[in-house]
């Protein structure tokens, strides 16, 4: 049932990504002082925004899980955080490339957005060892949800604290005053944001589908009294 609508969603994602990438390369103007390398911004910023929203979505799913005690929401929360962590790796890598190109350093510490993203990423990286250290399935799901709620509230608080501590050098993407960007660039970023958001949704749906399929296979095998193969699924949550 999770596979329903997966095909049109995937096609929409690919189409939107293709459209946005062609906007990036053929429509958006070349940045005056950064030149071609500035194009990485169109991937970096939407990835970061989607990853952060994904983390918060993981927290919202976790609240639903705690309230309804329905294991489905735990799987949603797990998968949302999982895909967002993967996006987070991409954000850190593309961010480092961009920083090297435009500031001359791979990593800049007095940069609130970089530092706070790193801290959030480190926190969510501990989600896995935390989750897998708890053996009992129900307890694991509950504790993971508590973690996801806490970490979800942590995201905005962390951004505030880090921003206060540091100077303001990072370009404010959507600043309205000076430092704002021309309309073509804005349009391209928004398109890319939609495309990356769709990509995130598709990946989440794919993983949920895979999980539910492997759960079904396992249940069928058990019903047939056949040996259940593969110990790896012990770790990840299942969906019915």
């Amino acid at each position: 049932m999770y596979g329903k609508g997966l095909k049109p969603l995937s096609i929409a994602t690919v189409a939107m990504l293709a459209l946005s990438l062609s906007l990036v390369f053929f429509y958006a103007p070349l940045d005056a002082d950064q030149g071609f390398i500035q194009k990485i911004f169109y991937i970096h910023v939407p990835l970061a925004i989607v990853a952060l929203i994904g983390f918060i979505a993981g927290g919202v799913f976790a609240i639903l899980h705690l309230r309804s005690d329905d294991r489905k929401w735990d799987a949603y929360s797990y998968v949302a955080i999982h895909i967002s962590v993967i996006f987070g790796v991409a954000v850190l890598i593309t961010g480092a490339i961009w920083a090297k190109a435009s500031w001359g350093h791979w990593w800049v510490w007095d940069e609130p957005t970089l530092v706070s993203f790193l801290i959030v990423f480190l926190l969510y990286a501990t989600y896995y060892p935390f989750r897998y250290a708890i053996e009992d399935r129900d307890r694991q799901a509950r504790y993971a949800s508590v973690f996801a709620v806490t970490a979800g509230a942590f995201v905005p608080l962390n951004f505030m604290a880090v921003r206060m501590a540091e100077s303001l050098v990072h370009p404010r993407t959507f600043a309205t005053a000076e430092g704002g960007m021309p309309g073509e660039m804005m349009l391209t970023v928004l398109c890319m944001l939609v495309a990356i958001g769709l990509l995130w949704t598709t990946l989440v749906k794919f993983e949920l589908t895979a999980k539910s399929a492997s759960g079904q296979v396992k249940r069928l095998r058990r019903a047939l009294d056949a040996p259940v193969s593969g110990g790896s699924s012990r770790i990840a949550p299942e969906v019915g």
């Binding site: 708890i134 053996e135 508590v146 806490t150 509230a153 608080l157």
Partner: protein, 226 residues
């Protein structure tokens, strides 16, 4: 006294009494912090510190000493069946959270009562900043206790107990440490205490305490279910 108030007082008194009798956490925390100061003295090769360096040394040491106490916070509950007793008792489970937070704040204050004067003797030329520092210490302890109690109660029921607390807690308290060091740095500056952005940082600390106190209170119920 209402039942929840007396339950709160009973749990808190139990914790403090057992700590006083067994002395499991506090002496270790204090000793650890003194040793860490000595290591910093040689690691940095300085005999006197001020400003951001002083704030960093103080808070790094206090944080790691606090982790020692946070690790042990729920060990007795788990080993002696205290969790089952709380589950059976006709009280609101969040009371356990509140009592543990207060107990941890008391431990941390006791730790700081030892560690901060020693820090001042070792490294500070001028102790005038210590009085306003008390407010920073108190607010930071509250936040540290709220997140620490939450993480500790989860970690104690897992396989990798002692590993999980530092692993999960440290990234979680980064904003708290940013605000604490931000407030401490001008207090310990070379020419006597200064107060730039002191109030702002205290507000960040208070906000952190409030948010994580509320979260802990709201989710703690789910951690005790079995």
């Amino acid at each position: 006294m209402t039942p929840s108030r007396s339950a709160f007082a009973a749990i808190l008194a139990k914790d403090l009494r057992s700590e006083l009798r067994t002395l499991q956490s506090l002496p270790a925390m204090a000793l650890f912090s003194v040793t860490t100061f000595v290591i910093f003295r040689f690691g940095l090769d300085r005999t006197s510190l001020s400003g951001s360096l002083a704030a960093g040394v103080l808070w790094a040491t206090l944080l790691f000493a606090a982790v020692l106490g946070i690790n042990r916070l729920f060990v007795a509950e788990r080993e002696e069946g205290g969790f089952d007793a709380i589950r059976l008792a006709p009280i609101d489970r969040s009371i356990l959270f509140g009592a543990k937070v207060v107990a941890l704040v008391i431990y941390l204050l006791a730790l700081e009562l030892v560690a901060v004067p020693i820090f001042a003797i070792f490294f500070l030329d001028d102790a005038a900043g210590l009085l306003p520092l008390a407010a920073v210490l108190l607010l930071t302890d509250l936040g540290l206790a709220a997140t620490g109690t939450l993480i500790s109660s989860m970690a104690v029921n897992s396989r990798a107990r002692d590993l999980l607390v530092p692993l999960v807690l440290l990234p979680l308290v980064v904003p708290l440490m940013i605000a604490a060091t931000g407030a401490t740095e001008p207090l310990l500056s070379l020419g006597g205490p200064a107060y730039d952005r002191f109030g702002t940082w205290l507000m960040v600390l208070g906000l952190y305490d409030l948010i994580f106190g509320l979260i802990g209170y709201a989710v703690f119920d789910f951690l005790l279910e079995d």
